[in-house]
Symmetry: C2
Subunit: 136 residues, 2 copies
DNA sequence: GTATCTGCAAAACATTTGCAATTCT
DNA sequence: AGAATTGCAAATGTTTTGCAGATAC
């Protein structure tokens, strides 16, 4: 708790109670949660927490570079705390999002023709291990 | 026109007039257009064409594997006809989307842990050559 | 003549915004 | 008190859906 407070302050984010709890949630749940998921889970514990605050907080975190916004899901945004370069795999059947690692850096293999690259997103889609094992 | 008709038929899509015109538009405009862009442009030529039909058609094309849906833009979907593996770069300033090519195939460098990969999307974001040259 | 295709209007859904109430120092 | 944070309700913008009318084979 005190650690999170200091971390947020170091990133230039005033550590309010709600912001600390959302940050704590993201640290515990690395499953690329959506706003809806965060709201459902945290609302139990903190009934006064609103969706607007979650949106506000995540947008602030994204601005400050604390989280990465994933658009692998066409419908709703997902949020990731991981900073190390990696990709994401989304199962078309169950909708779960998994991390995917690259055996080597690809940034130097890109022909970007003079554009300045700030973010790299690698999104894979298909059928996950668990779903492909099932009959249907 | 006759060529497009045959192509759509080979993909299992009944080649109606509107579908042919949308397909033709995608072939001419490789700039990853949005539904709005397609509508604005084609509506001049075909005043009876509705946005619903464009949505219906693009969803059908996506189902049949004729187009790829890009979610590089958080707000609206973009559509791409290219089948060859490549990435996309979106300029945070002007919003334009450019193609980006990889010097080698990355699919074999992925640790996908038993998941079946059907689609690979590489999205880059930053400032494009043209925008970075400008003063503002 | 029956299937399919089309298009309007309404609904659905995620996200943003305006603004007033609350909280914190 | 004053500035920042919060939360409700309404607005926004994209996409989907229901259904009636048009079109095609």
């Amino acid at each position: 708790m005190e650690e999170i407070r200091r971390f947020l302050e170091s990133k230039g984010v005033h550590p309010s109670y709600h912001r600390i709890k959302i940050m704590e949630y993201l640290m515990k749940n690395k499953s690329h949660p959506t706003v809806e998921t965060i709201y459902k889970d945290l609302h139990k514990e903190i009934p006064t927490l609103s969706k607007t605050t979650i949106y506000n907080t995540l947008n602030l975190f994204a601005e400050k570079g604390i989280v990465t916004v994933l658009t692998i899901d066409e419908r709703e945004a997902r949020y990731d705390l991981e900073t190390e370069t990696h990709g994401h795999f989304k199962c078309k059947k169950c909708g779960k999002v998994f991390n995917v690692w690259l055996s080597e850096d690809i940034t130097d293999k890109l022909t970007t023709e003079g554009h300045i690259v700030e973010e790299v997103h690698l999104y894979l889609k298909g059928i996950c291990k668990e779903c492909s094992g099932k009959k249907n």
